[in-house]
Symmetry: C2
Subunit: 243 residues, 2 copies
């Protein structure tokens, strides 16, 4: 027996349907705040997000339901906690891209605490799974002037760059469907920095080797003394840029 399809229903007669549905997920201020918070790549609990966005737990729960159903987030239940994170690099990319389109960075922060926190964020932070902030830019720029990355005719590693990753002992996974290299336009600095599988591998490497450490539990990262030496020797990055 055939499904009772309405005769007037034409499949492509509503060109904007899917696009609107996707955009709707981010069209709410609370959900947008959730996604921006999750750009740090970590898993947050529902309660953390609720407090962060200053809404009732019940409200947050409903929003998370929509974001998960929409495929933007994945959840992981552990005991009485509901951990939630961006579903995959594609979802992170989407949020990044949209955020990058939201015009000017905001004015100077009000409190001292906020000022020092945002200064740390400006120095170095992670953006989902790669390095961003001045640190991310410094690495990207250093790789560019050293001929490891070319930005003048697109955005791609050179042969030299691929070699360099090998020398550093950073494995490049070229199997997945994820692009090896892509630019990520950060919304404070207005210039692209290295993202994609290579960017993620590099970020993992600098954290694993102790070149950088996370500050507290947030997105901000700090370069260690050892990391300063390594970045200077390996890429010619002046330590003072990172301070």
């Amino acid at each position: 027996m055939a499904l009772p399809t309405h005769p007037e229903h034409r499949p492509d007669d509503r060109p904007g349907e899917r696009l609107a549905a996707l955009a709707s997920l981010l069209a709410d201020e609370t959900r947008a705040a959730f996604c921006l918070a999750l750009l740090d790549g970590r898993a947050w609990t529902a309660g953390e997000l609720a407090r962060y966005a200053r809404v009732a737990p019940s409200t947050a729960s409903e929003h998370l339901g929509k974001l998960v159903a929409g495929g933007l987030l994945t959840e992981e239940r552990q005991g009485r906690h509901r951990y939630v994170r961006l579903a995959d690099p594609r979802a992170a990319h989407l949020v990044e891209d949209l955020a990058a389109h939201t015009a000017p960075p905001r004015a100077s922060p009000y409190t001292l605490r906020a000022a020092s926190a945002s200064a740390a964020m400006a120095r170095g932070r992670t953006c989902y799974d790669h390095l961003a902030g001045r640190l991310g830019l410094a690495v990207t720029d250093a790789m560019t002037v050293r001929g490891l990355l070319r930005q003048d005719t697109g955005f791609a590693l050179t042969d030299l760059g691929v070699e360099w990753f090998g020398e550093q002992g950073i494995g490049l996974d070229r199997t997945g469907r994820r692009p090896l290299v892509r630019p990520c336009l950060d919304w404070t600095e207005r210039r692209p920095h290295l993202a994609g599988a290579a960017g993620a591998a590099l970020c993992r490497h600098v954290l694993d080797t102790g070149w950088c450490v996370r500050i507290g539990s947030g997105r901000a990262v700090k370069v260690t003394p050892r990391g300063e030496r390594a970045l200077y020797e390996g890429l010619g990055i002046e330590p003072r840029i990172l301070r």
Copy 2:
């Protein structure tokens, strides 16, 4: 006298505000349909868009007001017409990207007319200002295998590729802030094709030299016999791929 700023208003206390505002523009089915239609890069009148999306002229007018105010569209008044187009390549890129995230391409078209129209679209079309469809992919792939473009470690023209543009007499404008080359992930074919300033220059070139012509007034383009020869001789593209 100071402005009566509310003391509790903290500027970065609403992280998702801007993102949500931007997403809201596309979160309506009618507005989304408008933007998708405008991806052809042409200027549409308000009435055309209203008929296309099947809403009253008054409704369309209101939507256009929002899209223009949000910076996604620009308008140009001519007599009693209001011509509207995507504001810039960045806006087009945004819509493309979001559209690319909306999952699977839809099922086979119902009517014969729609089938032949979408077949023409699949063969070749423009996506804002560059080539897409099988034609766009064929060009991108041919450039890749000939070493003009590298996609394995990112997405960038090679030196050979820059040279090739020069040989073809296609000027590459590297002054603007627009990236020279970027990938555009099309939402029917799931692979990237050449976009950015170079993609636009190439598209302009094939239309100017008569290698391709637009079919009717839409986005679909057709390769001329002369174009077939040129594409075969210049890039080794088999004519049958384009049929």
